[in-house]
Symmetry: C2
Subunit: 346 residues, 2 copies
């Protein structure tokens, strides 16, 4: 049993963990470990948006960004997923990860110009980037092998960690929680740059990507996931998408992952932008759908243990004011963090 | 909106609350407020135990203790309830409350001798007393009027308090949580005094009494409580009674309250002894039955709001080493805190 906080990020505490030192979780979970020399991670979401059938521009853009990902200074890992948003638009989002900010910076300039610099097309495009210091994010994985998301960049996986399977574990896994409440300061604001819209988010904005992979499940476990768990998960995701703003969820995307040819895979993830980690905590702990999901997962993993074939993971970031970038071109007004600015104006 | 911690018990913090200052609960709840001059509360449980039909000794003892309660220096409030324990014994428990330790001390000596000093009868008898300083306990009530338990002694009820409807609210309402983790130290031990058995409990032992009153509910609300909520509550209570020890619940009693003539009323409460507040928190947050209860209550109170007729309340104490007394005479070995000592020996 080890702490989710790696040794080199352990500091003298001014804030306590929520569980005592002798706490033992009821089932194992793991976190991704980077080499100590890694200071920041970049998580960059590149979205294409359109209504109805995909226009030729969409496929062209997706091909171009994939080529750029494969080029010089490209990400260490990326994946792609699709969802239909609350306004009925399709969104295809390619998420790319770097563990070297300098490399990302060299790569990003021309990619950005290509992505959001053009206008007058049939598609909207957006870029949402966080580049958190490693003390500002955490991961959690239900099993070893086949990591997803930022965990693919890890140097290694931890052993069983202590800070999970209780409300507050997410916060306790973020190294900065040792000394900082991570309270939001200020409000997001909109900057217009011609037809490009940028959102300047407040300090301590929160991002979660929470995924599930049922590709290895067999008959009975698959049935439980698809019939009992997934519908409840979807209900929670729909709530956040449609009614999240008043509780601090600016945007939620329940994404269906796709393969290199754009075909659906048996993996999905929810990705959402939150006013604060506290707002995410409150929803997770009190909304009936998520409470049911949490209860089901607790029972599921406590019962099946290592024999469970469903894989669950998440990554949660609380970004500093200078660690994020949001830019939208030709997107509708409730896309991503644009919804946060609307909410502020309203 | 006010803090559950009264002004005169507010101190400089070395430990943080779990919610930010701008947290707003989704429905109202209230706490009992004592006069600032009240320094300690006494909660004294007097139990009679027997198998099968009540022997004459039981009725005689219950009459005697009621007469003592009504006498000089008696409690400000008391009530009585019944349950059948895990060994099939009936237990009738009279709970009495004082807000003046000196008065209790004057009253207690002879009452104790009468209660646990006699032996060789057909009944077992026990005394379980906590006398916490007011910084070591908290209350929570879903509505005003008709208080139960220790809240009957209050000088007044609070306005709507902030620290509730989230996991961790219980801890945050206890004034001592501002500066103390309230971790358990040591193990309970048994002291034999002839046929009297005393349990000397460790520091920071935890007691919860959590009650429900459905006497005012009408058709549809009553049906929801009795058919949807109560069976789940009972399942959770049975789990704690039968399987609680490994998770730190030494004893649990799901009590049916009775009136002055011993007839059942439409009120019940669960009362349990815990190794620590943390152990109680972990169970409450992770056990499927309690998570369902919490979710149901959240939904219920958020929806019905002030129109709900079901009344819920609880009181939770974390006692210092010199604030408790447990004595058993002629009871079976799994009665109350005797189960904790058994567990230690095992």
């Amino acid at each position: 049993m080890e702490s989710a906080i790696p040794k080199h990020l352990t500091t003298a505490r001014s804030r306590h963990r929520r569980v005592p030192d002798d706490y033992r979780p009821p089932y194992p979970s793991f976190v991704a470990r980077h080499k100590p020399k890694v200071s920041h991670i970049v998580m960059a979401y590149f979205g294409v948006q359109y209504r109805g059938d995909a226009p030729p521009d969409a496929a062209r853009s997706l091909g171009e960004i994939a080529a750029r990902f494969a080029g010089a200074d490209g990400p260490s890992h990326w994946d792609r997923a699709h969802y239909v948003d609350q306004s009925g638009f399709s969104n295809v989002v390619s998420v790319a990860y770097w563990d070297d900010v300098a490399r990302f910076d060299r790569w990003f300039g021309s990619a950005r110009e290509t992505w959001t610099g053009a206008s007058g097309e049939e598609i909207g495009r957006f870029i949402e980037v966080l580049r958190p210091g490693v003390a500002r994010y955490e991961t959690l994985l239900s099993s070893l092998g086949r990591p997803e998301g930022v965990a693919v960049l890890a140097d290694e996986m931890s052993g069983e960690v202590q800070e999970h399977a209780y409300w507050g574990g997410m916060r306790d896994r973020i190294p900065l929680s040792q000394t900082d409440e991570m309270a939001p300061r200020g409000e997001p604001r909109l900057v217009r740059d011609g037809s490009r819209l940028r959102v300047v988010a407040h300090d301590n904005l929160c991002l979660i990507r929470s995924g599930q992979d049922w590709s290895d499940t067999e008959a009975s476990e698959r049935k439980i996931y698809l019939e009992d768990v997934e519908p409840v998960l979807r209900e929670g995701m729909d709530f956040l998408r449609d009614e999240g703003v008043p509780i601090g969820c600016y945007a939620n995307r329940y994404m269906q992952m796709v393969d290199a040819d754009g075909r659906p895979t048996e993996k999905s993830y929810g990705q959402s932008w939150w006013k604060s980690l506290a707002a995410l905590e409150r929803w997770a702990e009190s909304h009936p759908t998520h409470v049911r999901i949490f209860g089901a997962a607790m029972k599921y993993l406590s019962t099946l243990g290592p024999s469970a074939k469903l894989r669950l993971y998440h990554e949660v970031t609380v970004a500093a004011a200078d660690e994020r970038f949001f830019e939208y071109q030709g997107c509708h007004s409730r896309t991503g963090m644009l919804a946060a600015v609307e909410a502020v104006v309203a």
